[in-house]
């Protein structure tokens, strides 16, 4: 787990591969890579399709609809500039791909993870409140939570 993140260990940040994703978010559209050869949806973006290694893939708009696979309420952020608590979640998207994001909800009762796991959610776009000030796709319940 968690050792020094040397440059050679981290993914390239803000590169040609991922810029179109952030540009789409800035326009209020969630996109994901779809392989032209085999139709696989994948995320995070990579040079080739992880299912068939085809270089022929393109970003396509997503429905923005998904379901919470797992979540955690974070009470200690990476540094003191993060306002806690906030809710991280793994979202399974309707097209069969997955992304990490935040849920825009009141942190749930810790005793009932079942209330959040399996929750149907939709994308909302939130300005990033720290550099590089992108627009971040976050998720909110499709129906108001009881």
């Amino acid at each position: 787990m968690g050792f020094v993140n040397n440059g050679d260990l981290a993914n390239e940040n803000d590169n040609e591969l991922t810029t179109p994703f952030w540009e789409a978010c800035a326009r209020g559209i969630l996109v994901r890579p779809v392989c032209d050869a085999c139709g696989t949806n994948f995320f995070t973006p990579s040079l080739v399709c992880p299912a068939c290694q085809s270089t022929e893939w393109a970003y396509q708009p997503s429905s923005g609809l998904g379901r919470v696979y797992s979540y955690t309420t974070v009470h200690r952020g990476p540094d003191s500039t993060w306002e806690v608590p906030y809710v991280l979640a793994i979202i399974d998207m309707s097209e069969g791909w997955t992304m990490l994001s935040q849920l825009v909800i009141t942190p749930p009762d810790e005793a009932s993870p079942r209330d959040v796991i399996g929750l149907d959610v939709k994308v909302v776009f939130v300005p990033e409140n720290r550099p590089p000030h992108r627009v971040l796709p976050m998720f909110t319940p499709q129906e108001a939570m009881s």
């Binding site: 787990m1 968690g2 050792f3 020094v4 993140n5 050679d8 260990l9 981290a10 993914n11 940040n13 803000d14 991922t18 995320f43 995070t44 696979y69 797992s70 979540y71 955690t72 309420t73 974070v74 009470h75 200690r76 952020g77 990476p78 540094d79 003191s80 993060w82 608590p85 906030y86 991280l88 979640a89 793994i90 997955t98 992304m99 990490l100 994001s101 935040q102 810790e110 993870p113 079942r114 796991i117 990033e128 992108r134 971040l136």
Partner: protein, 388 residues
């Protein structure tokens, strides 16, 4: 037991510096101190080693990789083999063993650690993964593990108080260990654990590992040469790794990484000709208390979802039926980053030589060591035995 070249390799010396929240020395100096301590423990000098696995934390050296070759100048010895595994601990031991058992070199020094990192209220840099699809959400390392744990909790509903008791048992082993960073803190009850601040649900502060400083080292050589050295050798009986996916890029899912370690554990035990019940002491990679339970399950000590009750009923302190992390573990002894997994081997060697000054398990002859875990999306397993 079938013949395996791994069995012809032994750990003959171990060393570590003092462990602390902040060490007033450089990483390089700390690593050098641990290296010289391990060599002295082995009854060897720098002139006896012809292989190094160490990386190079600077200052000086070169921008060129592999960093381990910079150690030949520092120590004034030409080398026949170098390694640069990520991380150290089990992968470094296995790689060194492969070099030794294939005749590429005879004696390998493994050393790593960290010191004098910037503090200032921030959590250590290696606990803040910086991938662009992680950092923007504020995903600390423990949150990655929490995402796996939440699905497990939802599915199996482990007894929360018993799970917290396990964290208390490991923390209390550290509490009475003078060498632990958290020495003298505690003892704790399950209620104390559950009352400690939440870090990332479901983990409380006392259920997650430290981020501290120090360095650890070990010396490996052939069993044949080991017989001429002063310490009782500790033989490599079995070992294996699993790498599911790069850590901290794509989120960890329980259905993908919840059982990581099962395959490596099965292969390591098969190499050793052993089953889980044959293990006398366990040094599990306790990034958090959930990982201890999860690892017991995937390594075959008990069934999926049964780890909490199994460990609680056995007892995991030095006098329990299932002694785990007898030095206080990552929860209480120390966690020193990339070199940290070697600390697990150092403690296992102390146990098998009967030399642990705190938490010694009487008559321990076999040990199991693990590294990493589900949230990191890789895992590794090593089985060790006293060789006399």
């Amino acid at each position: 037991m079938s013949s395996n070249p791994l069995h012809e390799v032994a750990i003959v010396g171990v060393g570590r510096t003092a462990m602390a929240r902040h060490l007033e020395t450089s990483t390089l100096r700390a690593c050098l101190d641990a290296a010289l301590a391990a060599l002295a423990d082995a009854g060897l000098t720098v002139h006896d080693i012809d292989g190094i696995s160490a990386r190079w934390p600077g200052p000086g050296g070169t921008v060129f990789q592999p960093g381990s070759s910079d150690w030949s100048k520092l120590l004034g010895v030409p080398l026949r083999w170098i390694g640069d595994t990520y991380p150290q601990g089990v992968p470094a031991a296995l790689e060194a063993a492969a070099a030794i058992s294939t005749g590429q070199c005879e004696t390998v020094l493994v050393v790593g650690g960290q010191a004098d990192l910037a503090g200032g209220g921030k959590v250590a840099s290696y606990t803040r993964p910086d991938n662009e699809f992680l950092s923007c959400w504020g995903s600390i390392t423990q949150a990655q593990f929490a995402l796996v744990a939440q699905v497990y909790f939802d599915r199996y509903g482990p007894d929360r108080e018993r799970l917290a008791s396990l964290a208390a048992m490991i923390r209390n082993s550290g509490s009475k260990n003078p060498k632990a960073v958290m020495s003298g803190r505690g003892p704790y009850t399950s209620a104390d654990v559950l009352a400690s601040p939440m870090i990332a649900s479901p983990f409380h502060l006392l259920e997650v590992c430290l981020a501290t400083e120090g360095a650890a080292a070990m010396v490996l050589t052939s069993r044949e040469r080991a017989r001429d050295l002063p310490q009782t050798p500790v033989q490599l009986l079995g070992g294996a790794c699993e790498w599911f996916r790069q850590q901290y890029v794509d989120p960890p899912r329980y259905d993908e990484v919840g059982r990581i370690g099962e395959d490596a554990g099965r292969r390591a035990f098969a190499m050793a000709g052993m089953v889980p019940a044959d293990v006398d002491v366990l040094e599990l990679y306790d990034i958090n208390i959930f990982e201890v339970v999860r690892q017991l399950e995937v390594l075959g000590f008990c069934g999926e979802g049964e780890g909490t009750d199994f460990a609680f009923e056995a007892g995991i302190s030095e006098d329990g039926r299932l002694p785990i992390n007898t030095d206080g573990g990552l929860l209480s002894f120390a966690h020193i980053g990339w070199g940290g997994p070697t600390l697990k081997i150092v403690e296992a060697v102390h146990q098998l030589r009967g030399e642990a000054k705190s938490g010694q398990v009487a008559g321990a002859r076999t040990a199991l060591v693990t590294g990493a875990g589900s949230g990191a999306q890789y895992h590794n397993v090593l089985v060790l035995g006293r060789d006399d």
